[in-house]
């Protein structure tokens, strides 16, 4: 996704950064989900080092913003929460990545 600023070669201002993604823990969650197809909560917890509570609250915020989708299913009577980025989430992450690259070179 290329916006006007990028086309004109201007540096985007910090205000234009996606505030939902910009939070460090959410950025880490988004980054992991961007590089894989899907993952469960346990995998994300181990990789990010967040507590269950923290992870849960950040995931909820990302879900509210429709950046990721949560799929709940039972695997051998054990509940599994599988997460994956939505198309909107992938695009938003790529846009954020481009803006950060422009800002910080």
């Amino acid at each position: 996704m290329v916006n006007k600023d990028e086309m004109n070669g201007e540096v985007p201002s910090l205000d234009k950064l996606d505030k939902i993604i910009h939070q460090p823990n959410r950025l880490l969650i988004m980054s992991y989900l961007y590089v894989v197809e899907k993952a469960d909560m346990l995998f994300l917890k181990n990789q990010t080092g967040l507590t269950w509570g923290n992870l849960s609250s950040h995931v909820s915020k990302l879900e509210e913003a429709e950046l990721l989708e949560i799929e709940k299913k039972f695997v051998k009577k054990t509940p599994k929460t599988i997460l994956h980025l939505t198309i909107k989430g992938r695009e938003a992450f790529e846009e954020y990545k481009n803006k950060m690259n422009q800002l910080l070179g």
């Binding site: 950025l27 980054s31 590089v35 993952a39 909560m41 995998f43 994300l44 181990n46 990789q47 599994k80």
Partner: protein, 215 residues
């Protein structure tokens, strides 16, 4: 990509996530058991009285045990502790390349075996030390290295090197120590070391990732 002074490298992040599945030491144990099997077969001290069919059954059962350790270990130890993840298309592509390369290697091996069987390549008349070195690297070290590169499993480079060198070492050690000490040093000792490394990684993994009952 930068964030609050902490660099996030997406490629490294993906590699780190992928490599975490090799922290459990199960692949090390699996490879170690396979090499140990080969070492015991080559030493023929413990099994000298057995017929070929019995040897084949023992080898198959041994390799099956190694496979079960890997399969059930991943299923009941690794995934419940590390969590579920499905990697992207890049990894799928790499696995396809891996299959093609290993298939080509296998075909070359079969062709080589047929040529040798037909007497077109009289190995006995060639320098055995040099031949064992070349064959070990061609059919063991190279496939292991390809596997290590594609799987991002760096210890496999070392195992491929040690395993590939095994036949060459047997030739070198035979005049010095005789049989079966040559195979003991060339195959059994390295395989025990590899299994020990695997067990060490497994213990660290079990300690680092305790099983969680609830999400």
């Amino acid at each position: 990509m930068m964030n609050n002074g902490n660099e996030i490298n997406l490629k490294e992040l993906e590699k780190k996530a992928y490599r975490s599945f090799f922290q459990d030491g199960l692949w090390d144990i699996f490879i170690g058991i396979l090499i140990l099997n080969l070492g015991i077969l080559m030493s023929d001290t413990f099994i000298s009285n057995l017929e070929e069919l019995s040897l084949l059954i023992i080898t198959s059962v041994w390799n099956l045990i190694a496979f079960f350790i890997l399969y059930f270990g991943k299923k009941f130890l690794t995934i419940p502790r590390l969590g579920y993840v499905k990697f992207g298309p890049k990894r799928k592509r790499r696995r396809t390349y891996l299959k093609v390369i290993l298939l080509i290697n296998c075909l070359i091996g079969i062709i080589f075996f047929i040529i040798q069987l037909g007497g077109f390549l009289p190995l006995a008349e060639i320098n055995m030390i040099l031949t064992s070195l070349i064959l070990g690297f061609l059919f063991i070290t190279i496939p292991f290295s390809v596997l290590a590169y594609i799987l991002d499993f760096m210890r496999l480079f070392f195992y491929g090197f040690v395993f590939g060198l095994g036949f060459f070492l047997t030739e070198i050690l035979y005049p010095l120590f005789g049989h079966p000490l040559d195979t003991l040093f060339a195959f059994i000792v390295p395989s025990v070391i590899i299994i020990t490394i695997g067990c060490y990684y497994l213990l660290i993994f079990l300690h680092k990732y305790p099983r969680l009952e609830k999400e």
